[in-house]
């Protein structure tokens, strides 16, 4: 076991990939000399050279599309789109390019591209810099989407993504980079088809992913002290969803709260809530509840931003309500 930060774990994952496969390279705005806007790639340009740790101009359509092209021509590019906010500019290349090329060429091409982006709010960077669009990418056939929520997953998810022959998008929540945690050394790649049970429990399933996991775990601790034994499911893979794990947890606990930093309406949490009620209706002892972000652009001031985002006490309260409302 080694202890490191989420940031270091991602960096280590890159170093391992770059060292072991000459086809791998990293490209994005300021990944090189600057060291990455979240310092993920700090020092990597010196170690691997500026060809392989490639700074790009501010040209999101251009360099994401270049990633698509390079992947289809035999490389294994990792494209860092600084944050999900800017990925809107590259959406066409991801959705109409990466996700469709294999299908519309009848299987002649594949696009083994990994796109990483930071996501989420909580740093008071206001309306244009605080988005969570994981749900949008998770909607697109042809893409695989995942979000490491632990340091261990941060360390070993990239390997799985690079091993995948199809485009994979990895979401890193901005508030996780400084989180410390343990990493099993020499572990294999994370299984991108499997959600993880981060805490076993019988009373209620708390289902979440990415940056909300720490909040949910905290809520679970709080619930435990009040005698409620919550099971915490970390989706890990946002597309395809591991419905088996989700549903079997709910079949055990009969109650679910889904926590997701996206805006409430049309959130990934909504999809999960729908699936549970569609596929396990008769197992539910109470309606599924969602804790999502308020339906407003994220405001700058701390108190309003916090009010807009999912909160630990809100999650715990929802869980209590679920448990209290036995059908």
């Amino acid at each position: 076991m080694a202890t490191m930060t989420y940031r270091e774990a991602i960096r280590e994952a890159h170093r391992e990939a770059l060292s072991s496969d000459p086809r791998v390279f990293l490209m994005g705005e300021d990944v090189g000399r600057y060291g990455g806007v979240f310092a993920v790639s700090l020092g990597m340009a010196e170690e691997f050279g500026e060809e392989r740790i490639r700074d790009t101009p501010l040209s999101e359509v251009g360099f994401v599309g270049a990633g698509v092209g390079a992947a289809s021509a035999g490389m294994r590019p990792i494209v860092e789109v600084m944050t999900v906010n800017f990925s809107l500019l590259a959406m066409d290349q991801i959705v109409n390019g990466a996700a469709t090329l294999r299908h519309m060429s009848g299987g002649q091409l594949s696009v083994p591209l990994v796109i990483r982006m930071a996501t989420g709010a909580g740093k008071q960077v206001a309306a244009q810099h605080s988005h969570s669009f994981e749900n949008w990418y998770a909607h697109v056939p042809g893409l695989r989407v995942a979000a490491p929520a632990t340091v261990h997953d941060a360390r070993f998810m990239l390997k799985a993504a690079l091993a995948d022959p199809d485009p994979v998008i990895l979401f890193e929540h901005v508030l996780l980079y400084n989180m410390s945690g343990e990493v099993e050394e020499l572990a294999g790649p994370v299984d991108l088809r499997r959600a993880a049970i981060r805490r076993a429990g019988d009373d209620v399933s708390l289902i979440t992913y990415g940056g909300s996991l720490p909040k949910v775990l905290e809520a679970a601790e709080h619930l435990a002290s009040g005698g409620i034994d919550a099971e915490v499911v970390d989706l890990r893979a946002l597309r395809p969803l591991d419905l088996e794990t989700i549903l079997s947890s709910v079949r055990k606990t009969h109650r679910a709260v889904v926590v997701d930093e996206g805006w409430h309406t049309g959130s990934l949490a909504g999809e999960i809530s729908a699936r549970i009620a569609e596929d396990a209706l008769y197992d539910l002892d109470a309606p599924v509840e969602r804790i999502c972000s308020a339906e407003a652009p994220v405001p700058y001031p701390h108190h309003l931003e916090q009010a807009a985002l999912p909160k630990v006490d809100e999650i715990a309260a929802a869980a209590k309500r679920r448990v209290g409302s036995d059908g």
């Binding site: 359509v61 698509v68 092209g69 490389m75 299908h103 042809g142 995948d164």
Partner: protein, 329 residues
């Protein structure tokens, strides 16, 4: 033009342009008859570009095109039967029938689409060239696109990236003066498209896209420059599409005279004229070519007609790479 070409090559070029034209006229009929569906963007009038350009590229080079790509595909060597079968949505189609007219792919001939988002192929071309540069492949990526695409942000970003990284991309702009119904002069403040390349320090040139020999010569020169490591080049080919943007359009945006004017510069007629003037083309040649082209096109139609439809159970095929393939990588 006269005196520039041997009989053999002249006939070859002529045949190819005639083949593309006949193929597409047949497509139009088959569309009207309901055998081809979706969008169908014909290349009639522009054949000299694909024909000339493709000859200047080697089989090892990459080619990327747009939704108006039958001509490019055929000139690149994709069998017309596979292109036609694609439009029939048959398994025998070049993309297994999944793509249709706008998405012809043939990886075995390094023909990489068939992109239907205007300018969407440009960043992909840059990426393929980047892959080649990183892998030390001495390969050129030729990327076709229209005048309309030049207005897109993706053009700007792609030109800059290719130039900044000195990548082996040949940007081949087919300027037919219209993006759907919008004339270049109503879409772009600078209508001399080749001039835009200066913004990226990309050497640029312009060629008469109605003259197959001129196109071939110009592309050959540009490809050589790119292959020599000089970074990207931009070549504008001035041309014209005789027919509607897609199969039907009201054609209210241009005059009959304008169309007639361009028809007088028809690339096939022009080449015929030059070969005749050089006394290396005879009436029998023309009828022989017509017959042979007709045969080939009818053969293509037969391939398409006799092809098979993919079973509905395979709907989800090729959304993701199948496991069998995956383990082999």
């Amino acid at each position: 033009m006269s005196g520039a070409v041997s009989r053999e090559r002249g006939l070859e070029l002529l045949r190819e342009m005639m083949l593309i034209r006949r193929f597409e006229e047949r497509c139009a009929e088959l569309y009207s008859a309901g055998f081809i569906r979706g969008f169908l963007h014909l290349y009639v009038g522009e054949e000299a570009i694909a024909t000339g350009a493709m000859r200047a590229l080697s089989p090892e080079d990459n080619v990327i095109s747009t939704y108006r790509e039958h001509g490019h595909a055929i000139a690149r060597g994709v069998p017309p039967g596979e292109v036609m079968a694609e439009m029939y949505g048959k398994v025998e189609g070049s993309s297994g029938g999944r793509g249709g007219s706008m998405h012809i792919f043939d990886a075995s001939r390094r023909f990489y689409g068939g992109h239907a988002i205007v300018a969407g192929g440009l960043p992909v071309a840059v990426g393929m060239a980047l892959a080649d540069a990183l892998q030390n492949e001495n390969r050129v990526t030729a990327c076709f696109f229209g005048d309309g695409a030049v207005a897109e942000g993706a053009f700007h970003e792609s030109m800059n990236l290719a130039a900044l990284w000195n990548l082996p991309v040949l940007f081949l702009c087919e300027n037919n003066f219209y993006a759907m119904g919008t004339h270049l002069s109503r879409a772009q403040a600078e209508t001399n498209l080749a001039r835009k390349a200066a913004s990226y320090r990309v050497p640029a040139d312009k060629v008469d896209g109605m003259d197959v020999l001129a196109v071939e010569a110009a592309v050959r020169r540009e490809v050589q420059a790119v292959r020599d490591g000089g970074g990207p080049r931009f070549l504008e080919c001035e041309t014209y599409r005789y027919r509607a943007h897609s199969m039907y359009d009201p054609d209210r945006y241009r005059s009959k005279q304008e169309i007639e004017g361009w028809r007088r510069r028809d690339p096939i007629a022009t080449l015929k004229g030059a070969l005749r003037a050089d006394h290396i083309l005879y009436e029998e040649d023309v009828s022989a070519l017509e017959a042979s082209v007709e045969d080939e096109v009818e053969g293509a139609v037969r391939v398409a007609e006799e092809g098979s439809l993919e079973p509905v159970e395979d709907l989800l095929k090729n959304v993701y790479t199948p496991r069998e393939i995956r383990w082999r990588r």
